[in-house]
């Protein structure tokens, strides 16, 4: 049985030395308990095997008889060997039990070390979560603010009285109005052309009248000349008539002169009016052409702007979608960050479980007659733990010195940097 006890003890100690979680600790406890149980059973067996026969034999006779019996009775010799062996075993068991007690005590210290390390994990993850949360919420707030501003801008551009959309509608109305103005101009231009034609005809008509008056004056003049001739033939009697004929001739000449002046003036005015009308017509036609071009340009602008405004409208919807998406992502992040709290609690539960196991182990040792539980050697445990330390905070948590070499950088941002 001895080999088994040693094996069990070795397992307990080895598992204690490498306390890598709850399961090895449990195995350690079970092995330790089994070892102690085996020790107790061994002691009981030893007592049982020794009690009836050996004590009887030892106390049954005097010295000489005993010696004789010992020599003659091989069974007694065997019993003595057994007693001696059991005594050695008991001594070994007592040593093993002592070692287990020390191991359990050290296990207690190891739990304390693990607890300190867990505190680091909790503290670090909590701080990290908080920093991360702060940054994420800051990003989210900025993102929301920018999205809101973009949305407001887009709404301002696309909707409301002063929006681009409204301006485009106004522009379209103006284009329609221009169309009306242009039509009016076309009608006016056409009427102006017709009036010019009428004017030209009227001027021509007046010229005709003027020529007729001139002809009439010429004829009157000829008539007056003939009357003068006839008055001369009549001699003294035609003297008065000759004066009248002379006056008629003068009137005919004046009429002709006036008619010619009128004709000249009317022709001059008429020509001027026709010329002016033509100019006006050209200007109006040019205006209509310019309006038509403006109308075309405005139509092009509205044609370009209308889909752009529609796109901006889609931009509003997209910004709303983006905002919703940010909110959804943020909610997912909030959920994820809460697992830190769960981790903290789970680590606490592990420590509690380990402490409870230590209590069980101590109780087993006490009940097996090992007396008051011992206090483990913290320094030795820390020496063991240090073998696995890789993080600065692990050393710092136990006030241990860590040689990090020279990292004396003047630049604060390079405080963790070592340049080789």
């Amino acid at each position: 049985m001895m080999w088994m006890y040693i094996l069990l003890l070795a397992m307990s100690v080895s598992l204690y030395v490498y306390p890598n979680g709850v399961v090895p600790a449990l195995i350690a406890v079970v092995c330790g308990a089994l070892a102690i149980k085996a020790i107790k059973e061994g002691r009981a067996k030893t007592r049982k095997s020794v009690s009836p026969t050996v004590t009887d034999a030892v106390h049954s006779g005097s010295g000489m008889e005993d010696e004789a019996n010992r020599v003659t009775d091989p069974r007694l010799k065997d019993l003595e060997d057994t007693i001696a062996k059991n005594a050695r075993d008991l001594q070994a068991f007592a040593g093993a039990r002592e070692e287990i007690a020390v191991a359990v005590a050290d296990f207690g210290q190891a739990i304390s070390v693990v607890e300190s390390l867990s505190d680091i994990v909790i503290s670090k993850t909590e701080n990290s979560s908080k920093d991360l949360s702060t940054s994420i919420f800051s990003i989210s707030d900025n993102s929301k603010r920018v999205t809101e501003e973009i949305k407001e801008l887009l709404i301002e551009i696309c909707k409301g009285e002063d929006s681009l959309e409204s301006d485009i509608k106004k522009l379209t109305k103006e284009v329609d109005k221009l169309d009306l103005v242009m039509k009016d101009f076309q009608i006016m231009s056409s009427e102006y052309g017709q009036n010019t034609d009428v004017l030209e005809k009227n001027v021509d008509g007046i010229s005709e009248y003027s020529r007729a008056i001139t002809d009439l004056a010429d004829k009157t003049n000829i008539l007056a000349i003939n009357a003068s001739i006839e008055a001369a033939r009549a001699g003294e009697y035609g003297k008065g008539f000759r004066v009248i004929a002379g006056e008629v001739q003068k009137l005919a000449k004046q009429s002709k002169s006036i008619s010619e002046n009128i004709n000249t003036s009317i022709l001059k005015v008429g020509t001027q009016l026709v010329k002016s009308s033509k100019n006006h017509k050209e200007i109006m036609e040019s205006g209509v052409k310019a309006i038509r071009q403006s109308q075309k340009n405005l139509l092009e602008v509205t044609t370009i702007l209308t889909p752009q405004v529609a796109l901006l409208g889609e931009g509003i919807n997209e910004s709303e979608t983006l905002s919703s998406s940010v909110t959804a992502d943020l909610n997912a992040i909030i959920v994820s960050l809460q697992y830190q709290d769960s981790i903290r609690q789970i680590l606490g539960h592990e420590i509690n479980l380990l402490n409870e196991l230590r209590g069980i182990m101590e109780n087993v040792l006490v009940s097996s007659g090992n007396g008051v539980p011992k206090t483990g050697d913290r320094e030795r445990i820390l020496d063991l733990a240090k073998k696995y330390f890789t993080v600065r905070d692990e050393w710092l948590a136990f006030g241990l010195n860590i040689d990090e070499g020279s990292m004396e950088n003047q630049d604060e941002s390079l405080k963790n940097v070592t340049i080789f």
């Binding site: 909590e126 943020l330 960050l337 709290d341 769960s342």
Partner: protein, 118 residues
């Protein structure tokens, strides 16, 4: 509406705050039951969000105190905890709790629950 969040995790308190403040809620904070009861503005709270497992005074103890305080007894208490066992939930209910949310909470769900008591 003022929500009093009592949780030993500062991260959780911050997350609750970030989830509720944009919705127009004012959030008061305390690390545990004891700190909550000594908070100067506790009487102004309209609803309590309480964790169960906390040092010094746990959530159940806090709720017992709240329910004994005439100023606070009518205020709804919602447990916000990692605990999900029915036994614990029943304990919370028997103490006068109005609801039980298992962490991790989703902000829309938390807001919806709080609105039930608004």
């Amino acid at each position: 509406m003022t929500i009093f969040c009592v949780d030993d995790s500062s991260t959780i308190r911050m997350l609750v705050k970030k989830a509720l403040e944009p919705e127009g809620y004012t959030v008061l904070e305390a690390e545990n039951g004891k700190e909550a009861l000594s908070h100067k503005d506790i009487a102004g709270a309209d609803l309590f969000l309480v964790d169960v497992n906390m040092p010094q005074m746990n959530g159940f103890e806090l709720v017992k105190n709240i329910k004994q305080d005439t100023r606070l007894s009518s205020k709804p208490v919602i447990f916000l905890t990692t605990e999900s066992a029915l036994e614990k939930k029943n304990e919370g209910k028997d103490l006068g709790g109005a609801g039980w949310i298992v962490k991790p909470f989703e902000p829309p769900a938390l807001i919806k629950v709080i609105k039930m008591f608004s």
